[in-house]
C-alpha cells in the first residue's frame, strides 16, 4: 500500500521542529509500524538524507522504549499494545498518518521522535524500592506467604513498562498512572509495608518536582495504557498518600 506520512522532525532540544511530508510506497500489511519506518529510513539514506530517529529496542512490547504519537494517539489506533506491536494491517492504502513524539513538558524532545523520559527514573529513585540489602542472606522465600489475589494485583501493577503513554495521553500531562502503578506494586505486598508511607510521599513529591501536571480524573491514561494499568491504582495511591500525610 501507499501511505502519506507527516512526521515531526527536530534536530535537537534547542532547535524548533516541524512536520515534514513523506510518501511511502510498497508497505505490506504484515509489517510492523516500526518496520514501515525502517523502510522509510532506508529510502531516506539512499537519497542521502538523514533518517528519522525514533526510540525502540525489544520490538516485542515489553521494554517500553518505543513511543510514538500516531494520529494523535500514543502507540496508535489499537488498544493494549505498544507501537512495535502495531501492524500495518491496521491501516489502509492511501491513508495519511501523522507521527509525532510524546508531548509533555517533563519529556523534552531529544531528536525527531525521541524524548527524554528520565523523569520517570527519578521518580523511582525517590523511593520505588524496598530497602532490603542484596548482599545479605534474606529469609526463605516461602516464609512470606502472600495471598494469591494480592500477589496477582501487585503483579498487574508491576507490569507497567514505563513507556509514558499515560503522560502523553493526558491533557494535563500527569504521571499519576505510572507513579501509582509503582506505588501500588509495593503497597500491596507485605514486604513493602514498612516504608509505605515514606515511599508514597517521596515519589509523589518527585513527580510534582518534575513538572508533570495534575490528575483531573479524565481517564485517558487508562485507555491508552498498553498494559491495562487500571485507574484503581490512582485511587489506591491517593488513599496511601492521604493516610501517609495524616500520619506524617
Amino acid at each position: 500500500m501507499k501511505l502519506y506520512l507527516k512526521i515531526w522532525r527536530q534536530k535537537n532540544a534547542s532547535t524548533k521542529g516541524q512536520m515534514v511530508d513523506y510518501t511511502l510506497d510498497g508497505v505490506e500489511s504484515d509489517m510492523s509500524f516500526l518496520e514501515m519506518l525502517d523502510i522509510l529510513n532506508e529510502e531516506l539514506i539512499s537519497k542521502g538524507e538523514e533518517p528519522v530517529e525514533f526510540d525502540h529496542d525489544c520490538r516485542e512490547g515489553i521494554c517500553g522504549t518505543c513511543s510514538l504519537m500516531i494520529n494523535g494517539r500514543p502507540h496508535g489506533p489499537d488498544s493494549m499494545i505498544t507501537v512495535c506491536q502495531l501492524h500495518m494491517r491496521s491501516f489502509n492504502d492511501g491513508d495519511e498518518i501523522v507521527i509525532e513524539p510524546w508531548r509533555a513538558k517533563a519529556f523534552p524532545v531529544i531528536k525527531d521522535l525521541i524524548v527524554d523520559r528520565t523523569a520517570f527514573d527519578r521518580i523511582q529513585q525517590a523511593g520505588g524500592y524496598i530497602s532490603v540489602n542484596t548482599s545479605g542472606r534474606p529469609v526463605d522465600a516461602n516464609a512470606i506467604p502472600i495471598e494469591k489475589e494480592m500477589a496477582d494485583k501487585s503483579f498487574n501493577a508491576a507490569t507497567c513498562i514505563g513507556c509514558g503513554a499515560c503522560v502523553a495521553a493526558c491533557k494535563n500531562a500527569s504521571a499519576m498512572l505510572f507513579t501509582s502503578a509503582k506505588v501500588s506494586q509495593f503497597a500491596l505486598l507485605p514486604q513493602g509495608q514498612v516504608e509505605a508511607a515514606e515511599r508514597v510521599e517521596n515519589m509523589v513529591r518527585q513527580m510534582d518536582l518534575e513538572g508533570f501536571g495534575n490528575c483531573t480524573n479524565t481517564g485517558a491514561c487508562e485507555i491508552e495504557c498498553p498494559k491495562g494499568i487500571s485507574l484503581e491504582n490512582i485511587a489506591r495511591m491517593n488513599r496511601e498518600y492521604l493516610s501517609a500525610s495524616v500520619k506524617g
Binding site: C58, I62, A141, N142, L189, Q191
Partner: protein, 667 residues
C-alpha cells in the same frame, strides 16, 4: 599470557565455593570508599552487580545504551528462573540442578562453576521475593513452579510470561536505592567504545554520549562487562535491536580471550519469519511446551495442502498428525532440550512437512490441553453433563490465565487466534553460550576486567537449558562478583583515584575518534542494515542450525570480503557530534563483521557435534549429535592477533571429577 588458569578451588565439589570465599582476600569497608568500579550493562547481571557492589561500599558507575537501566534486554525474558528449592517435593536438589545443567550443556561447561550456580540458585529466589518481585503463587500463598525443557522436575519460578521484566525491575529498584544514596552514578544513553588498559590492567573505558556525541573518559580500579549476548550478528534473532558485542569485542582486542564463539542457542518456539522486511523474531516462551503438543502432518500431501491454504490443521484427525517429539523421545516428549527440539523441527521441515507458506514452521497445538483443563474445571466446579463447547470455553480461560500475554502477542503478530487454531513456530537464534573467557572469579584474561551474565562463557556449555540464563545473570551479580572482585581489589586500596589524563587514555580516545571518523568519511553506497542483513544471511545459512566444513570455509571467505566492502562502501548520514543512530548501528555491525569470522573459524575447528553446534559430518545414524570427548572436551579460547583469521586457539581442558560423562539421551 597464554596459560589458561581457571583458578578452580581444590577440594570436594560441594565445598569449593565456601572454601574459596573463606580464602579470598577482603577489602576493609573503609577502603571500599576509595575504590571505583565501572559496570557496563544494566541487565540482570550488571544491575544486580551494581546494586550489590554499591551497597558494599564501592563507588559504582553504570553504563547502558538505553534511556533507562530498566530497559536492558533482560526485560524481555518470558518463561522463568530456575532454583533448586524443591518446594514441589519432586526430588529436586542442588546436585540434580547441577547435573541437568552439565548434561544439558553437552558436557562442555566447567563443573565447579555450574555447581556454584546451582548452589546459590536458592538464594536468588529469597533475594527477589524480599525485594518485592511478584512471582506467581498458589492459592495457599506459597510460590508456584513450572517445568522447562530438558528436565523432569518443576523448579522454574515465574511471573506469568514476564519473569525477566519482574526480575529486572527488582534489580533496577535495588540500583535506584543506591543511586539515591549517591553510591551509583548511572550513565544512560552512553555506549562503551573501548577498554583502557594501564600497566596491563583494565583501568577504564572510553564511552560516547549518544545524545551529544561527546567522547568521554571514565576511569576505575576494575571494569565489569555485563553487556549481554551477541546473537544479533544473525540480524534476525529474538534479541532486542541494540544488542551487540562491542564491549566484549573491544576487550577481546585488548587481550581478553573469546571463548566458544560458535556455541549459539537456537530456540525452538519462535514465531516464523514472514517476509524480507522483517527486523526481528519473537520468541514464544518455552513454558508453552508444558501444555502445547508439537506436530506436523504425517502425509506430505496434507502438508502441501495446508501450505496452499486448502486444508486447515483442525481438519486433520489425531492419526493424521505426526507428534514427532513424542514419537522420537518418549521419555521427555515435547520437553526435550532446545537444541534437540530445534533440530527435530528443522529435520521435519527439510523433509517437506513444514506448514506455513515458506515451509518453515511446525504446529504447537493447545487443543488437547484446553479440553483437559476444561474437563477438570467442570468436574471440580461440580458441573454435570457439560457439552464440548462449554468445556472448551472453561479450558480456554485456564490456558489464558497461564499464557494469556503470549497468546495475545502471537495473535497481534500473526493475525490468527491461537486458542482456535494451532500456533505456528520455528527455531530462531536466541542466546549465545560463548562469550569472554573468565576464570572461577569471573575475571577475563585481562587483570581487572570481569565479565558477567550472557557476556561470559562460563556456565552453559554447548547448550543452555531454559530458565537458567536469568539464574546465571543474577547469581553472578548478586552472589559471585561481590566476593570475587574483592580478591583483586584488595591490592588496590592504596592506589588512589585513577587519572584519565594519561597516555593510555589519550591513545584509546584517539583510536575511538579515528574509527568514528573513518566510518563517517565513507562516500559509500549502502546502508548499515544492508551489510547487517547480508552478514545475517551468511551466518544463518552457513553457521546456523547445522554446519559443515565446506560451508564454514565459504562463510569465512565471504565474511572477510563483506567486511572489506563495508569499510569501503558503507554510507552513514548525519554527523558524529550529535545523536546519530546510523553511526551507533555502524559501530556495532563493524564488530559483528569481525566476530562472525571468528565464529565460523571456531565452528570449523570443532570437529564434533555438541549442543547448539551441529556439524553435519558428525552425527549418529539416527541423526543425533555425535560428540568427540576424546578430542574436544575443552573450551576453545581465542586470542586476538590482528585479523580474525590470525586468532590463536588456546584450550582449557574440561575435567569432570564428579559426573560421569555420558551420551546425552532423552529417549
Amino acid at each position: 599470557m597464554g596459560v589458561l588458569d581457571s583458578r578452580e578451588p581444590k577440594g570436594p565439589l560441594a565445598n569449593k565455593w565456601t572454601n574459596h570465599k573463606n580464602e579470598i582476600d577482603l577489602v576493609n569497608p573503609a577502603n571500599k570508599r576509595n575504590i571505583d568500579i565501572i559496570i557496563v550493562g544494566t541487565g540482570l547481571a550488571g544491575g544486580s552487580a551494581a546494586a550489590t557492589l554499591a551497597e558494599l561500599g564501592y563507588n559504582v558507575k553504570t553504563f547502558c545504551y538505553q534511556d533507562s537501566p530498566r530497559r536492558a534486554h533482560s526485560i524481555a525474558a518470558q518463561g522463568g528462573v530456575n532454583a533448586a528449592k524443591n518446594y514441589q517435593g519432586d526430588g529436586d536438589s542442588v546436585y540434580r540442578l547441577f547435573y541437568d545443567t552439565v548434561k544439558g550443556g553437552d558436557y562442555r561447561s566447567r563443573e565447579s562453576n555450574v555447581y556454584r550456580l546451582a548452589e546459590v540458585s536458592t538464594n536468588i529466589i529469597d533475594q527477589c521475593v524480599a525485594q518485592g518481585v511478584p512471582f506467581a503463587r498458589e492459592y495457599g500463598g506459597l510460590l508456584d513452579n513450572r517445568s522447562f525443557g530438558g528436565v523432569l522436575v518443576s523448579r522454574t519460578f515465574y511471573a506469568k510470561g514476564q519473569t525477566g521484566q519482574q526480575l529486572l525491575l527488582g534489580a533496577y529498584a535495588a540500583m535506584n536505592r543506591q543511586i539515591q544514596r549517591g553510591k551509583i552514578k548511572s550513565y544512560t544513553r552512553h555506549e562503551m567504545l573501548d577498554l583502557v588498559l594501564v600497566d596491563g590492567k583494565a583501568r577504564g573505558i572510553i564511552a560516547r554520549d549518544l545524545v551529544s556525541g561527546k567522547i568521554e573518559r571514565h576511569s576505575a580500579h576494575a571494569v565489569v562487562l555485563a553487556t549481554g549476548g551477541y546473537g544479533n550478528l544473525f540480524f534476525l534473532s529474538t534479541y532486542c535491536m541494540g544488542a551487540n558485542v562491542m564491549a566484549a569485542w573491544k576487550a577481546h582486542k585488548k587481550g581478553a580471550f573469546f571463548a566458544n564463539p560458535c556455541f549459539t542457542q537456537i530456540h525452538p518456539t519462535c514465531i516464523p519469519v514472514s517476509g524480507d522486511h522483517q527486523s526481528k523474531l519473537t520468541l514464544m516462551s518455552e513454558s508453552l511446551r508444558n501444555d502445547g503438543r508439537i506436530w506436523v502432518p504425517k502425509r506430505l500431501e496434507d502438508a502441501q495442502a495446508i501450505r496452499e491454504g486448502k486444508l486447515k490443521p483442525t481438519q486433520l484427525g489425531e492419526e493424521e498428525r505426526d507428534y514427532y517429539l513424542e514419537r522420537r523421545y518418549p521419555a521427555f516428549g515435547n520437553l526435550v532440550p532446545r537444541d534437540v527440539a530445534s533440530r527435530a523441527a528443522k529435520e521435519r521441515c527439510d523433509a517437506g512437512f513444514g506448514v506455513n507458506k515458506t515451509g518453515e514452521a511446525v504446529y504447537l497445538d493447545f487443543s488437547a490441553a484446553i479440553m483437559r483443563y476444561g474437563r477438570e474445571k467442570a468436574l471440580t466446579s461440580g458441573m454435570k453433563d457439560v457439552d464440548d463447547n462449554t468445556i472448551r470455553e472453561l479450558g480456554e480461560k485456564i490456558v489464558e490465565a497461564k499464557y494469556g500475554n503470549l497468546f495475545q502477542m502471537y495473535e497481534k503478530i500473526v493475525d490468527e487466534n491461537p486458542y482456535k487454531t494451532p500456533m505456528m513456530i520455528y527455531p530462531a537464534v536466541h542466546y549465545t553460550m560463548g562469550g569472554l573467557w573468565v576464570d572461577y572469579n569471573l575475571q577475563t584474561t585481562i587483570p581487572g576486567c570481569y565479565a558477567a551474565g550472557e557476556a561470559n562463557f562460563s556456565d552453559h556449555g554447548a547448550n543452555r537449558l531454559g530458565a537458567s540464563a536469568l539464574m546465571q545473570g543474577l547469581a553472578d551479580g548478586y552472589f559471585v562478583l561481590p566476593y570475587t572482585i574483592g580478591d583483586y581489589l584488595s591490592d588496590d586500596i592504596r592506589t588512589g583515584p585513577i587519572s584519565t589524563d594519561s597516555p593510555e587514555f589519550d591513545a584509546a580516545e584517539k583510536n575511538v575518534t579515528d574509527k568514528l571518523e573513518k566510518l563517517m568519511s565513507g562516500t559509500g553506497i549502502h546502508s548499515v542494515d544492508y551489510y547487517h542483513k547480508k552478514l545475517g544471511k551468511i551466518m544463518w545459512n552457513k553457521c546456523g542450525m547445522s554446519r559443515n566444513a565446506k560451508e564454514l570455509k565459504e562463510a569465512i571467505k565471504e565474511i572477510a570480503e563483506l567486511r572489506k566492502d563495508f569499510w569501503e562502501n558503507v554510507k552513514i548520514p548525519g554527523r558524529p557530534d550529535s545523536k546519530n543512530q546510523e553511526l551507533e548501528k555502524a559501530g556495532r555491525v563493524a564488530d559483528f563483521l569481525e566476530l562472525g569470522e571468528l565464529f565460523a573459524k571456531d565452528a570449523l575447528e570443532r570437529n564434533e557435534s555438541c549442543g547448539g553446534h551441529f556439524r553435519e559430518e558428525y552425527q549418529t545414524p539416527e541423526g543425533e549429535a555425535l560428540r568427540d570427548d576424546e578430542n574436544f572436551k575443552f573450551v576453545s579460547a581465542w586470542e586476538y592477533k590482528g585479523e580474525p583469521s590470525d586468532a590463536k586457539l588456546h584450550k582449557e581442558d574440561l575435567v569432570y571429577e564428579n559426573i560421569k560423562v555420558k551420551t546425552r539421551s532423552y529417549k
